[in-house]
Amino acid sequence: MQQVINVFLIGISIGSIYALMSLALVLVWRSTRVVNFAQAGQAIVTTYVAWEVVNRSGSFLMAFILAVAIGGLIGGLVESGMMRTLFKHASDGPVAAVAPVIATLGLLGVIRALVGLIWTNEGKRFESPVSTAGFVIGDTTLPFSRLNLLIICTAAIVMIVFSILFQRTNLGLALRAAAYNPEIARLSGVKVSMTRTIGWVFAGAAGAVAGILVSSNDTLNPYSLDVLFVFGFVAAVVGGLESLVGAVVGGLVLGVGLSFITFYLGTSLVFPTAFIVLVIVLLVRPSGIFGVKGARSA
């Protein structure tokens, strides 16, 4: 029983990181109908920046804030610099449907190459800001550590901030309106092009948080966030790709599920399971568990 709880808690910790990445993908999807394949690439830049700051100044908090700010900035720049040009030039023709995917893949390649040029492709050790030794209760040591707690708390704070922002502010209302129906939102005075950029900015910031959290106490290289992206995508699809709540729930469910599989069946089955889950969800319920209706109201 105790073991089950342990595995569950670890799963929540990993799942909340997936949830953040999934949130980033959903934010971009809602604002521009694009799946940003460079989301993990943007996060890798901010994670390297955070690594650099931690190494130079030793302050994890400063690194975190700087990374989130830069993450938002990159998101905004990509939307206003690249995606707008893309929509202008490739809005019709045989490759219009796949053009955003290809463009974001290209961006991913450029980012990786630049990161590799600046920081080299060798793995960098990202030290954890807090102890990774498990909590001790009585005379048993749990695998659940302070780092896991920090991850859950940080992810929870980010999600609470987002939910207040979306539910309680005028900006959130504008964002929701623009996602629901851009034409009508524009008619009622919402600057839709601005909400698109803001969607990308928020996504960049959320992705930056996910990147730092997943890399803590791990090795960082230009390719190390690929896995995070794929699981974030699976989580987003499970949650419906439209729904912010769905993204979070999808991430947590995936994290817990994969944690149990890792523990009881072995690491090598993690990828196949995630893939099978993805395919089943897409075949049985393409609109995700939180179908369109739930999504639109969230």
Binding site: F37, V95, A97, V98, R112, A113, L114, L117, D226
Partner: protein
């Protein structure tokens, strides 16, 4: 006057099949002559160009015609390579049988995955195939007969003796790869010009209209996915032949490289696939020359090719989304119209 001209041109196009056969035969003959005159490294690169061209061809069929973007061509290549290597190791059949096994097994997997994928659109399909490309190579560690990280050795043997003693192994690889690629591209070209190709185009351009004239768009998409997977499987077997059948050969970067090549060559023209393969092999060469000027740092040599190809990819899709060749064609048409 204009009418007669049109009739003439239609007559000329009446027998494109013979022209295509002639074109491919000439191309093959030219390559063979060339193969005797260049260094060993160039022959090896020639084989790589052929393999990439074949993989790009499979993606052009899938994306340019049927409109489905797969980021998982590398996964199907891996399936083909493992199928070929396992057939060779356990059955030791004639060489051609191993390649047929690669095509059949990869196509089978393609049909299974395509059955689900045909229902998916744009980004969903891309994400699913991405997960496949990232996840499938990890299976090699799960089953011991797949050889784990070290992989398998797909041994095609040395060239038959009648080719002479100077016939090197790399030249033999090049012959196999070039021949397989030419035959396959010829086959794809014919499919694309047939009613199947037209049906794919119709389904991509307007699914509702295509269904209205009696095309089963979903089934056609599965068919495209199956054929594309089979072709990719053959390319994978060839790649396994010149390198190693291991997870490290069939990385995500391979899938991305193939997409890059396909986009740079123009997703809607199969003739571009050879050009795409050429670009993929030449860019690292150029990068090596460039990085030589900046000092031989490892970070530079490892990343300059990626930087160049990715930048080209973005610029291509931003400014000439249908490929440079198509754009030029379009430009010429416009000029002609203006002249009239």
């Amino acid at each position: 006057m204009l009418k007669r001209k049109r009739e003439e041109s239609s007559k000329r196009e009446h027998n494109p099949y013979r022209r295509r056969v002639l074109f491919f035969l000439l191309l093959g003959w030219g390559l063979l002559l060339l193969g005797d005159r260049v260094s060993e490294l160039r022959v090896y690169q020639g084989a790589l160009i052929a393999i990439y061209a074949l993989a790009i061809g499979s993606l052009i069929l899938l994306t340019g015609y049927s409109g489905q973007l797969s980021l998982g061509q590398g996964a199907f290549m891996a399936i083909g390579a493992y199928a070929a290597a396992l057939t060779q190791i356990y059955l030791q059949p004639p060489l051609i049988v191993t390649f047929i096994a690669a095509v059949v097994v990869a196509a089978l997997f393609g049909a299974i995955i395509g059955g689900g994928a045909a229902r998916l659109s744009g980004p969903y399909l891309a994400g699913t195939t991405l997960a496949l490309a990232l996840g499938l190579p990890t299976l090699a560690n799960l089953f011991s007969f797949l050889g784990g990280e070290t992989g398998l050795y797909f041994d095609v043997g040395i060239a038959p003796e009648r080719f002479g003693a100077e016939f090197t192994l790399y030249k033999w690889f090049f012959w196999i790869a070039a021949l397989a690629t030419l035959i396959m591209l010829f086959f794809i070209q014919n499919i694309l010009k047939s009613r199947y190709g037209r049906a794919w185009k119709a389904g991509r351009a307007n699914a509702a209209a295509a269904q209205l004239v009696g095309l089963h768009v979903g089934r056609r998409k599965v068919l495209a996915f199956t054929i594309s997977a089979g072709v990719a499987g053959l390319a994978g077997a060839l790649l396994g032949m010149v390198s190693l059948v291991a997870p490290s050969t069939f990385t995500l970067s391979l899938s991305f490289a193939i997409i890059t090549g396909a986009v740079l060559a123009g997703l809607t023209s199969l003739t571009g696939s050879i050009l795409g393969g050429l670009v993929l092999v030449i860019i690292p060469e150029i990068a090596e020359m460039v990085s030589g000027n900046f000092g031989e740092s490892e970070a530079v040599t490892a990343n300059i090719p990626g930087l160049i190809t990715s930048l080209l990819l973005i610029l291509t899709v931003l400014f000439t989304p249908n490929g440079p060749a198509e754009q030029w064609h379009h430009h010429k048409e416009k000029k002609k119209q203006r002249a009239l």
